[in-house]
């Protein structure tokens, strides 16, 4: 019987459970490197990894201490600054650098202060779905039988509802849409992907000889799960979770754009983009900068995920 996980998504399919390449004749014989050690050696030289790591570090810094980057307020508008006045691209880092929006607020300040919302949503949703989906996937994959059947059908049920549509319905249930409401709405349907990936990985790893060996030596279920299976099933989950993080940030903005995500007075890129759409012809910069930041952030996480995948999968080298 084919596995449902096989027919999930491209991301899942492209992540093969790493196998150790035994036939590399030129491998350094002086010291045997582990899969993770090998992956790290590969990552360190990967320009995509370096660029994305720096970008992500920067984003985290901006979202933690936005005032380090601008002293201007993102919410205090002054209509003295007309949004049609030309952005002063030479004044890097000043409030007028990227121009003003319709309410005379500094686009740059809003960009900086809007980072936190996007990063928080991405990180929080990813953390929740990885833990929840990881646990469920591990249970389903390891125990099999009716537990698996039940959890798999449950996953199917949640997977069957289109992601965006489902999130829209959930969000509609809340009057005040804070960051955490958005996190809940995205995690509500988002956990299925990780569950499927984890389940597939655990099923593969479960059949490995070293797991049988551990069982034969009398290791308990918990020990087998956490010492033997989890470390070896983690790789595809990490890759999918990293790439999905970018997707959640994008989804948050999309929901704002549809009028169902974060809304003013919350400062976020999605809010600014949907506000900027109205002035797309006269003041494209209001739309442009948050769009660029958003895309760059998503790109950083996707690049990181891709780099990690390539490093973990010897077949792709």
């Amino acid at each position: 019987m084919p596995d449902v996980t096989k027919t999930a998504t491209a991301v899942e399919d492209a992540v093969a459970t790493p196998s150790v390449d035994a036939s590399a004749p030129a491998a350094k014989q002086e010291k045997a490197r582990s899969l993770w050690g090998d992956a790290w050696a590969d990552l360190r030289r990967n320009p995509y990894f370096i660029v994305s790591s720096i970008l992500i570090a920067l984003l985290l810094l901006v979202s933690a201490w936005p005032t380090l980057f601008t002293s201007a307020s993102p919410t205090a508008g002054d209509l003295v600054h007309h949004f049609l006045s030309k952005p002063e691209l030479s004044k890097v880092g000043s409030p007028e650098w990227l121009g003003y929006d319709q309410q005379g607020r500094s686009v740059y300040a809003r960009l900086i202060h809007g980072t936190r919302a996007s990063v928080t949503v991405g990180v929080a949703v990813t953390a929740i779905v990885t833990i929840l989906g990881g646990v469920l996937g591990m249970i389903a994959g390891y125990f099999g039988g009716w537990v698996d059947a039940l959890l798999s059908r449950l996953t199917d049920v949640f997977f069957g509802i289109p992601f965006l549509l489902g999130s829209m319905v959930v969000l509609q249930a809340f009057v005040e849409r804070t960051v955490w409401v958005v996190v809940f709405a995205l995690a509500f349907l988002g956990w299925t992907q990780i569950t499927r990936v984890m389940r597939g990985a655990v099923i593969t790893v479960k059949q490995a000889d070293y797991v049988h060996a551990a069982k034969a030596l009398g290791a308990g279920t918990v020990r087998i799960l956490f010492r033997h299976i989890l470390p070896n099933a983690m790789a595809p989950v990490i890759v999918v979770a990293t790439i999905a993080l970018g997707g959640y940030i994008s989804a948050e903005a999309t929901l704002s754009f549809l009028g169902l995500g974060l809304a003013a007075p919350t400062v976020s890129w999605g809010v600014d983009i949907s506000a900027g759409v109205a002035q797309i012809r006269v003041a494209p910069h209001v739309l442009l900068w948050p769009s660029i930041m958003l895309s760059l952030t998503v790109l950083a996480f996707i690049m990181l995920g891709e780099a990690v995948r390539n490093a973990l999968d010897p077949k792709l080298r």
Partner: protein, 310 residues
Amino acid sequence: MGRYVARRLLQMIPVFLGTTLLIFLMVHSLPGDPVLAMFGDKGADPATLAAKRHELGLDRSLPVQYVTYMRDMILHLDFGTQIRNGLPVTDVLGGAFPITLQLAALAFAIELVFGIGLGIIGGLRAGRLADNLILIFTLLIISIPVFVLGYIIKMVFAFNLGWIAPNVSTEPVLSEMIAPAIVLGGLSLAYVARLTRTSMAENLRADYMRTAVAKGLPRRRVIGVHLMRNSMIPVVTFLGTDIGALMGGAVVTEAIFNIHGVGGVIADSISRREGATLVGLVTILVIVYLVTSLLIDLLYAVLDPRIRYA
């Protein structure tokens, strides 16, 4: 094979019921009263409201409502009526689906042709300039949120170049749909390209490829038959699951280009709490999803003889 299909069909029943129940409960837990909203600011006396509720069956308990709804749908293909205007939901969906289907089909065709095409180029030139350019292109497409991509295309091609109209007309011709289809299919196109590329690059190193060369087969046969037959398996799988996703994802594209399809109905019925419409719509999408995933699994067996169905 027959037994496998039967078992899969049986497994679909709980998933189908579960998904419809889930969306049903989600919609009905939304705050606000659609019947009250129907009368607008004027309001109405409680007796009228109660009568209306009774007429729509909204005064019954949720489980009863769900069972009634599903019974009517399965037995009579009756998806209920819209609260606002009393139109049958089947009519509303029947009016909206064709255009979304057109859009999704066109997007699918674009994704198929260009996604696989770019993937093949990248896979055969793995590690070289063309491959890296395609990698960067696909990463960019994946990173740019759909609605941003939509506005970029709208800005450039409609406002700056004037090649297309910013909004699609009510009775759109095929050429008008190309830009929206590119926006809708862009993300999947990038995924298909990446998947094809990865799959080809991986299979290029397979032992049977070496055998094919050693047999003295010409390059186009080595690639066209031996490599492609193996590399397309994961791609076909992805393409299959994507058909349903395209239809569900059309909501953003339709909003950007002002297309009156399923997306509009979704947005509308969420904000007006049109439970019957939403549940009916999700039901159709779920059926599409379940049927395509079964077909994909069966196709999988045709493409890969190592898969056996017991």
